[in-house]
Amino acid sequence: MKIQADVGNPFRETPAGAHQRRFETGIRRALAMLTVLLILPLVAILGHLLIEAWPALRWSLLWESPRNGMKDGGLWPALVGTLYLVGLSLAAATPVGVAAAVYLHEYARDSWLNRVIQMAVINLAGVPSIVHALFGLGAFVYAARLGYSVLAASLTLAVMTLPVIITSTREALAAVPMSFREACWNVGATRWQTLRAVVLPNALPGILTGVILQVSRAAGETAPILFTGAVFYKSVQSGDIFAYRLDEQCMALAMHLYTLATQVPGVRPALPAATAITLLGVVVFVNAAAILVRTRTRSHRRW
């Protein structure tokens, strides 16, 4: 009987193993590359906009009114209009959305009606904005007799943002462990007391995230406000905070961008690009502020 003495190093890689390893590395690199490719559009868009907008970028853009047929001057009326619209729409949508989510998640039983409501909320989130625009025109401008106004446009935006606020609030509530609620109930607290003292404070960062996400959506949408309250031009004093009454129409950045790019002859290409940068800036600024609030509230959390 012959004993095979030399089996070689048992830890040495077999040809099949080496092949598999190379294959794994290849896959990892390919996936990493695709991820990098994802950043490209963002970099390209921002870079292109910045280069285009460079000659027109200056701080006075933010508080000056347009001049000379909107070919010169700043963006103040559009900027303040966008702030009005976003602020009002979130002020209207957040309480309603949060209340609805609290009811659905904390109070409602799993009934037939509730499942229908949840389906409706999810589907509402998928409705294209132009359909919301048409709804806003019929419901707020005509039926509610608000006319073409800041108020009608804000409410239309609020209806549009509502489903996402409801969904994200529900998820934030679901992330609060059940044991927290049970502990609270066990010391004799009612549902509402539990909600106020334990559940809502713990869910707040998640709720804020949902609301923040809607800022950029509300600021960027053009269709709903075009139908319900945005105008081509309105003369407004430079830097006037109270530029619009709620029953007046207003300018907005998204609409102004469209106007400059397609309707006004002889506009320097830098101006629409600078408008786009300003719109992005508003969104980033609001998001950053809200993220700051969120991290602060989250740091107080003790679990």
């Binding site: 006319g147 031009y233 407004v236």
Partner: protein, 266 residues
């Protein structure tokens, strides 16, 4: 015409700071519809009010529409700067744009292109809510429909910019929208007539065949603020903005600040 309205609104803020003018765009039809609904005090229009619109306005608001002539505009026919074509007749325009028109190639207008593949004419115009669309349909096409395949764009500016970037395109737009890359054709009523280039003088004298009035419509007797605004528009200060925006001001002797009641058949 929305740019004229915008220029007025901007300038009027310096005249009467207490009155703030809102301007919405979208075309003459949009403005007239807003007037009928009562959501606008004044509707600017580059075409006459239709009888049906006047009736609808009277029915909806109980007030009779009133028309103010605030300026004139020559509807220019634009081609690319490098196009050798210099003039065109209304007959040719009709054959080009009307639904039963027979001209669809540059060679049929006497223009020879080095590459026969580019011979097809790209026709550019306005969307159907624009007054420019309605005016051309009535004045040039004799109320026939536009031919399919005409690019209908949302603004006068877009029309001219597309032509500046498309050597084989032809289109129509107000004279004031001209940019560096385009040429304005001289227009003749019919073959043999003198072809006239669009200009303020030719527009006022009526020698340029496709000129039109720029109109503002209101309802009933205007409110004091609106009345003051209209008076300012027809003053020398307001009329100066027509020249700036590429339109033609109303000569002083033809200005009528009181406007004219539109006849409504009942």
């Amino acid at each position: 015409m929305v740019n004229l309205a915008q220029a007025w609104a901007e300038a009027y803020a310096g005249v009467e700071p207490g009155v703030r003018v809102e301007v919405s765009g979208g075309g003459s039809g949009v403005g007239v519809a807003a007037l009928i609904r009562g959501s606008a005090d004044l509707a600017n229009s580059s075409r006459d009010l239709k009888a049906s619109e006047a009736e609808a306005a009277l029915k909806a608001t109980g007030k009779e529409p009133r028309e103010y002539v605030v300026g004139y505009d020559a509807l220019a026919i634009y081609v690319h700067r490098d196009n050798p074509l210099e003039s065109i007749t209304l007959e040719q325009l009709r054959e080009l744009f009307a639904v039963d028109g027979r001209i669809s190639r540059w060679s049929e207008l006497g223009v020879r292109l080095p590459n026969p593949r580019h011979d097809r004419i790209v026709r550019v115009g306005r969307q159907s809510s624009g007054g420019t669309f309605e005016f051309l349909r009535h004045r040039v096409l004799e109320d026939r429909d536009f031919r399919l395949g005409t690019l209908e764009l949302n603004g006068s500016k877009e029309v001219v910019e597309l032509i500046a970037n498309t050597p084989t395109a032809i289109g129509y737009s107000g004279m004031g929208y001209a940019v560096a890359g385009v040429k304005l054709l001289r227009v003749a009523e019919r073959v043999g007539d003198e072809a006239v280039a669009p200009s303020p003088e030719a527009t006022i004298s009526g020698r340029y065949p496709i000129a039109r009035s720029l109109l503002v419509y209101g309802l009933g007797e205007p409110r004091p603020e609106v009345k003051a605004y209209l008076a300012w528009i027809l003053s020398d200060a307001g009329q100066g903005w027509l020249t700036v925006t590429g339109f033609v001001p109303v000569p002083p002797e033809r200005r009528q600040p009181g406007g004219r009641l539109v006849e409504v058949s009942r």
